[in-house]
């Protein structure tokens, strides 16, 4: 028998899509059933009360969670988000309901041994409810009490070899696409770069020293499956320098209809026979391709590596072999100054495992220095770039301006010249001037 009536939430149990309400109810029942044998460290009816408070929100049309208090684990400034219910007497099981962010493994690959241990820990010391995963990428432990935070952290680090993720004004948990693990298009090893930078920048991740949040995301190719270009302060997007690899026999197979285009992604409708002119050549944004006499030609110098032709003919075309990444900076969601897309800062950098990614750190660290020096409280990198200008960013990183940095040159001539760029400097002699021009 459910602790709280939830007539509104109950209506979300029907329909085909997996119902989070059904899952919560099954968890509430499982906890009640095991209450005798398990020495649950937070209230047994935590999930019942969560259902109850959510039902109340469905009635009220308003949330019933309060601001986070300052809770955390000793020595860290992030990884735990304090959460308290504003109806604690009605729902004592969720009166204290803190979130913990657990740094996910690259590519979100798991083995069941690890997952079961995570489940056992969270069943025992928390609500048994998770997010798989949060928007930034972490495993989210949803709801526990303050005394359990250190216990969970101890068990994670001692028994599972597992650390917390980031929250607050620090490096947020970096995340990556599936990359070379199972994708033919990844131009560099996203998971290794993500892992290495996460490990090397643990201090920045756990101890807030930045003006605001800072996100790294790693996409293996310009398809951007983890949306790095839209939501990471620094986006590392795989690309290549040399020529698209062509298998002419496979091109013919596409043209001849033996292989379905786009990896068969359009199989749900009859789009007619594949037309290479219409579907590939004419959709190339730079018009750098032609198909003549059964042969596909690409003028690679004019190609901007958008991926369309490769997406459409994955068996015939592959990215080049000289892989690396472009670095775009300053993306963010709209708060406060409007949404920003990442802006291209480094067109190409080798992703060099052997050097410990020194070439990439040489870009990251001057940006952090500049942002920590110049950034205002709660100012994202992208907002600082808008306030101070792209030139200041270039100077901070020591990169020369190039046409790749802009979609078009400036519309106004209001150029801030540097004094040393103008012969003779800014100091002029008014008396000398007056010798030429009478008052």
């Amino acid at each position: 028998m459910a602790k709280h009536e939830t007539p509104l939430l109950d209506q979300l149990e029907s329909g085909p899509w997996p119902s989070f309400v059904s899952d919560m109810k099954q968890e509430a029942e499982a906890r009640a059933k095991k209450a005798g044998e398990m020495n649950y460290q937070i209230p047994v009816d935590v999930v019942d009360d969560l259902l109850g408070v959510l039902e109340l929100s469905y009635v009220d049309g308003e949330t019933h969670w309060k601001h986070g208090g300052i809770v955390g684990v000793f020595g860290y400034g992030g990884g735990v988000i304090g959460r308290y219910c504003d109806q604690p007497e009605k729902f004592p099981g969720v009166a204290h309901f803190h979130t913990m962010r657990i740094n996910q493994p690259g590519g979100k690959f798991y083995n069941t041994d690890y997952l079961r241990k995570i489940c056992d820990l969270w069943d025992f010391r928390g609500s048994g409810l998770t997010n798989m995963h949060g928007s930034t990428g972490d495993i989210i432990f949803l709801g526990t009490t303050t005394p359990q935070l250190e216990e969970i952290f101890w068990e994670l680090t001692h028994n599972l070899g597992q650390d917390l993720g980031g929250s607050g004004s620090n490096l947020r948990t970096p995340s990556d696409c599936i990359g070379q693990a199972r994708c033919e298009w990844a131009c560099y090893d996203t998971q290794d770069l993500c892992y290495q930078l996460t490990v090397d920048y643990q201090d920045e991740l756990h101890r807030p020293a930045f003006p605001y949040k800072f996100k790294f995301k790693f996409d293996g190719c310009p398809n951007c499956c983890v949306a790095s270009i839209a939501r990471a302060d620094m986006a590392f997007v795989g690309t290549w320098k040399d020529e698209i690899r062509i298998d002419q026999e496979a091109v013919k197979a596409y043209v001849g209809g033996e292989v379905k285009p786009n990896g068969n992604a359009h199989a749900g409708r009859d789009w007619g026979a594949f037309d290479i002119e219409k579907e590939v050549i004419n959709l190339c944004p730079t018009e750098c391709m032609r198909y003549e006499n059964g042969k596909l030609e690409i003028n690679n110098r004019e190609c901007t590596r958008c991926m369309h032709c490769i997406n459409v003919m994955p068996r015939a075309l592959r990215p080049g072999v000289q892989g690396g990444c472009s670095i775009l900076v300053g993306a963010k969601a709209p708060i406060l100054d409007g949404a920003q897309m990442g802006s291209l800062l480094i067109p190409f950098v080798e992703v060099n495992k052997e050097s410990g990614y020194e070439e990439i750190k040489d870009v990251i660290e001057p940006i952090w220095d500049w942002w920590m020096e110049e950034g205002k409280n709660r100012e994202r990198l992208g907002e600082l770039m808008k306030r101070r200008g792209f030139q200041q960013l270039l100077e901070a990183v020591g990169v020369d301006a190039m046409p790749q940095h802009v979609s078009e040159p400036r519309h106004n001539p209001y150029i801030f010249w540097k004094e040393e760029e103008v012969p003779g400097g800014f100091e002029m002699d008014i008396n000398e001037f007056r010798k030429r021009h009478l008052r």
């Binding site: 899509w17 997996p18 740094n103 250190e150 998971q191 708060i335």
Partner: protein, 381 residues
Amino acid sequence: MTFVSSGYDPEKPMENRITDIGPKKYDEFYPPVIAKNKGKWLYHEILEPGVLVHVSETGDEVYTVRVGGARLMSVSLIREICDIADKHCDGYVRWTTRNNIEFMIDSKDKVKPLIDDLESRKFDGGSYKFPVGGTGAGITNIVHTQGWLHCHTPATDASGPVKATMDVLFEDFKDMRMPSQLRVSLACCLNMCGAVHCSDIAMLGYHRKPPMVDHEYLDKMCEIPLAIAACPTAAIKPKKVEVGGKTLNSVEVNNSRCMYCGNCYTMCPCLPLMDKEGDGVVLMVGGKVSNSRTAPKFSKVAVAFLPNTAPRWPETTDAIKKIVEVYASDARKYERLGEWAERIGWERFFEKCELEFTHHLIDDFRDPAYYTWRQTTNFKF
């Protein structure tokens, strides 16, 4: 309940403390076929909705069965996923960026038993636990945020509207009839913890009333300068108020300047702004993050406000369904929703989707607004 110590001694927090170890290393969790073929994959193909094969230059193949899942997940359900992974996949499983679960196997004959197993599992309430789909030119899972379940600033719920929307779009999760992939996202407030600002269709929770001021407690609970500085439109200024015969330091909100972002509320709990009538959903369309063909695009506001009609948000799901159907019937192969809208023109988009265009949809926020007005005589009647 009796407290059980993990071994942590609160008297000596630094004793035997382990910190800064980071995540588990990715390759601890690779299935053998992934470990062996990493970086050697040649191509992939979608065999049917939800089923992919990747072929390696070694000749190896990996078959992936993708299933949808709610982002909110209990340990009971994760344990069930482990049971399935143990039974079919040698104990390996992964999640995607969009909250799907992927079961990988190394030969084709294992595919059907796995799918049959997954599709046979249902919750007591009747919904599928593991519906197979979410690939190719279809509609995959919705990335979303916490909503009323666990957040202090939401203007709508997250899990509920997502469930309601995916129920409506379910057939297209299991099909690939769209002109291109169609990505739906939800963020329950302007903070946009999900990247909804670049999605084909985005639901965004939005407040419409300026914050209330809890004068009596504000100076005790908040740093007034921080609350003032948090406002992007400079709508908040300091104010002395009389409460119960006492003069208190507080703030005043210039309502006409407020854009209801809730940023002040994040800095100061004495400025709440949630309200049943005020809060609801903004629908945005036409964003993308891929660089394919055209540059990544921001989503644009298509519907300024839809109410929070719990538990199933019918106004929102109806509008989404309408947009999806018009896009499916009108766009060209490969064309993303935003590319289609730009080709036919936004005036046609509103006409075809039977959406009302109101003054709310013309940008008036700072410099970028100008670049969205029409500076040409080229338009359609």
